[in-house]
Subunit: 335 residues, 4 copies
């Protein structure tokens, strides 16, 4: 069976996912697209084997030829499309964020809980990265003892002009916020933000920051967030256990020796670093839609990320440690 | 357009390729299978969406539903299926070796040349490995100057019972034989085999060997072949240029610190090391069949590998340096 | 000229320094020893070429054959011997700590300032480590831009029975406290201590801790202190600048491939890791005494380390951020 | 006891050793110097604490104040000074080569054997390098099984103008020739030289070469010799055993991340790479002279290196495999 997907939002990320679904992955076809820019949707549809352009996302969702929905539109619109997909009883993959407020996330949780089954997956692709999966496997194997600390670095060579102070948390560190919840199978209990000396590369932006995340067990995570560090896109992480540690290796394919150096490459950007994780993420989602597996990051994960991000923003604004208060977790998300 | 593939030979490698074509790659479907064991072919066909089992490879090849052929049968049968595919005017992907003798390879060259277009691709998957592609890119960028030497190691943790002395060349080192021809865009001019102290792990087998390959330009390649080294599947390579070098990095996703060591992983076997290269190899072949790219390793490459392997076996038997004599290269293969 | 050194305190560290002065370094001789255990001092003296045992450190200090003094006695006694050396106008190398209270350190500062010249050096050996010196050189070269952050890990496989909670700061992290002041040529302005989940390996001890050090410029340093991590003695550090970073390499001499791993060694303990730094530290001190160089870490550095350690202990006890208040820096220490 | 050393030959290497003996090592003093350039010897002597310049090496050797002799003069003169030292019954450290012909080496062997005790040490400093010692320890621990192969690279950024073709063997590869005899405790049985494509950086020089050394056990060593590779001084080595391998790590103190690379340093030249090995070599020799240890590389080692070098030169000239024929080994050298 081929899964027929409708894609809402055909901007950069939407078109990249369409390429992926059409030319890289197995058992899936893009049959419908929509966009706030109807002409763009029409143009994209014409470039595909047999896809139709819809005037609105809502029409696309209810169309009989669409088995599952991929939401790549502007964040403000995520809630409405996810809710409409749930109402239509169709699986929906929503790029992060699930929604732009905690309240909106709770409305999605309520709707999905009422539907009585998992329909929503949120686009946290790091869970699908080979290296992070190996970290998780080592942690849970017991080889390094109980985990006590984790050190993360999240470095970007630069950021676009619309990037602003809170993006450091909501766009960038949110990946680590989701990651550590998955890595350690526990919630974040409190957060704090440290403010170091500012880089001239970031202009007015307070860059870097250090985000502290206290897990429910007491495990402490520190995350360096540097978004104008020029030299490359460098994602690192080391989990410190009682008896040892496990860390991500730098993923350079080759080492070059020249001009006094023996040098590995650092990825240029997130596309280079995580391109395979995106492929695996969507293939596993397609397989889950077709009945061959489980869905990944849930509405609950999207909600938790929103709550922790809000707490971190509050911590940054006030210079204090801010506890994280989550709603009760519905049974649907405690498999 | 979906490429409809017929697979001849559904043993271990055949079934793995069927899995790949059915569940991993895009734009392709397995519609026909055959095997010397007809019952097995039938069973495999029943497990697929809509595939038919054929009594013979020849019948499969000429079937109107088959767009392209994948040959995974026993090496002795490769020639007949490749020739039949050429006769039918259909693209054929043949697992290595192209054929078991130089003469058979020449018959294939003649047939394809007569057909006037490339139809045959041989399964040398290393050309599709990310790291080897990066090596090639560095070499051709000029960053290390003109290449003068290459050091390769090809280490296997162990080999199956039917593996015999000449397999060190024809099954194992043949990968490097093809690789260096592609890496440096030139032919191998002579070969020699050095015989070190023997490992007790290999029993009667002369393991390890060191294969020397002299390229036409004088560039010298040495290849350590160790096939019972226990600790892992370790493929390494360093090209030494006039001004610097480039080498493959060990592809460990994580580094674990415990019990006095900071340790990277070594792949367990060739599947772990090259699984992605197989995916990319067949996806690019499928795309080429569908019109979206060029075919990879050619009949000429398969022929050259056979000639060099024969020379290396002669060098091993006689303890001498053996020149490599190739036929004239048809224009078809000099694009 | 041979520098004639008198050593006060011939316990483990004292005897190791005597071995170093007698059998490793150039231009120096041990001519006098003393110890609270007089019999031990006598025995040690007899094992040397021509050394005399003194009943008290004070007598040793004023002896005419003694050019310079090395204080390796119990920390409580450091102040008296350093003051006596200053009074005698003799160069004195004092193992850390300079003294056990801020007030005692200030008395030493006063005495040395009154003497009008540098006589005291404190035993912070990391400043003499090749790798840390290379880090400092890169930072000051401008190659990574202005430094903004530093991540340190200080891991011990285990600690002796008398090690207690405050030792995490005063014995262990004090090395990083001195190090970052030297690395960045600036004082520490405030400190905070984070308390992660506790390792079962440390029993009642709160292990690990994360020490935060805010430098005067705003540069932020985090130090993981893990003292029962079993796997080895692992000292790491990465300085994050505006445009790049520099970090210590793991100092393994060899990489061993076996049993699925490609493994570097982690040092067993501080002796293995810093043995050469101790050699260089004392050789440079001997050379400075003989007139061939400058003295290293000063009384001011010893005083600053004491003040920052006290602040960190206060921060640990109260869970708050504690500013560091230093006395005015005498001109003697601002070369 | 202080060992009083006389140094014959005060050119670059001689002066560097004088610096080492005077300012780095323990228990040793330079009391006499001589040089073919008497004015230079006098100038050097005046710069030392209390050293006398001698008109000839022979006078220096027999002087009553000289306990031991260090020969750093031109290679042609080594034999006469070593023989004179043996005749005087004094320990002598001779920089490589022991002598410039096999016959001269045999005369030294005869003289030392007649003296009935070890007096001569030859300057093969790699045996004193921490990393090579760790390789040897791993090999002899059995951790990688019986050694079967060794891959070496010996790369220089450039060579001086007087460097000529045979220097590739006699000046450069001779280090590996001695090294593998020590590493594996066995003699070299045969040798062969492979000639790759030539680097434009070396002008008329055939650079690189690959030297093959067959050990008596069958263990095979290949040595890449590249002496104009620009990027640095890169000494590598990997011993391949039945079950695993051990290799030298690149000795970079720090890793710098900038401009897309995560880069380790390569040493600039042999001084940087082996400075500590020279220190350890001479300290152990001084200790052996003083009675605290054994002498290192012997006259036999110097003789064997000469014989193997001659064989390798013959192999290079003739393009053939050349067996190595050694004289019978005197009992003095088989402890």
């Amino acid at each position: 069976m081929t899964v027929r997907v409708g894609v809402i939002g055909v901007g950069m990320i939407g078109q990249d996912h369409i390429r992926r679904l059409s030319h890289v992955l197995s058992g899936v076809d893009v049959v419908a697209v929509s966009d706030v820019d109807v002409a763009r949707a029409t143009a994209v549809a014409e470039g595909l084997r047999s896809a139709r352009a819809f005037a609105t996302g809502e029409e696309l969702i209810v169309d009989g030829n669409v088995d599952a929905v991929l939401v790549c539109s502007w964040g403000e619109t995520h809630e409405q499309y996810v809710l409409a997909s749930i109402a239509a009883g169709k699986p929906v993959f929503c790029e992060k964020p699930l929604a732009t407020t905690q309240e909106a996330c709770l409305r999605i949780l309520d709707a999905e809980t009422a539907a009585g089954r998992r329909l929503v997956q949120v686009g946290y692709m790091r869970r699908y990265d080979t290296a992070y999966r190996a970290v998780r496997e080592v942690v849970h194997s017991g080889a390094i003892g109980l985990p006590l600390l984790m050190h993360c670095t999240h470095r970007n060579p630069g950021v676009p002009g619309y990037y602003k102070g809170e993006s450091m948390i909501t766009d960038t560190a949110v990946h680590e916020i989701d990651l550590v919840r998955w890595l350690f199978d526990e919630e974040i209990a409190a957060t704090q933000v440290l403010v170091p000396r500012r880089s001239r590369n970031g202009g007015e932006l307070q860059d870097p920051l250090v985000l502290l995340l206290e897990m429910a067990s007491g495990l402490l995570v520190d995350v360096e967030i540097s978004v104008n560090i020029r030299y490359g896109y460098d994602i690192r992480g080391e989990v410190v256990g009682e008896d040892g540690t496990v860390e991500l290796c730098n993923p350079s394919p080759v080492r070059v020796r020249r001009e006094g150096l023996a040098a590995d490459r650092v990825p240029v950007d997130w596309r280079e670093r995580f391109i395979r994780a995106y492929d695996v993420e969507l293939q596993e989602w397609v397989d889950a839609v077709a009945g061959g597996g489980d869905f990944g990051p849930s509405s609950w994960d999207g909600y938790a990320a929103a709550v922790v991000s809000d707490a971190a923003l509050h911590a940054l604004a006030t210079g204090t440690r801010v506890p994280v208060a989550l709603a009760d977790k519905p049974d649907l998300y405690t498999k």
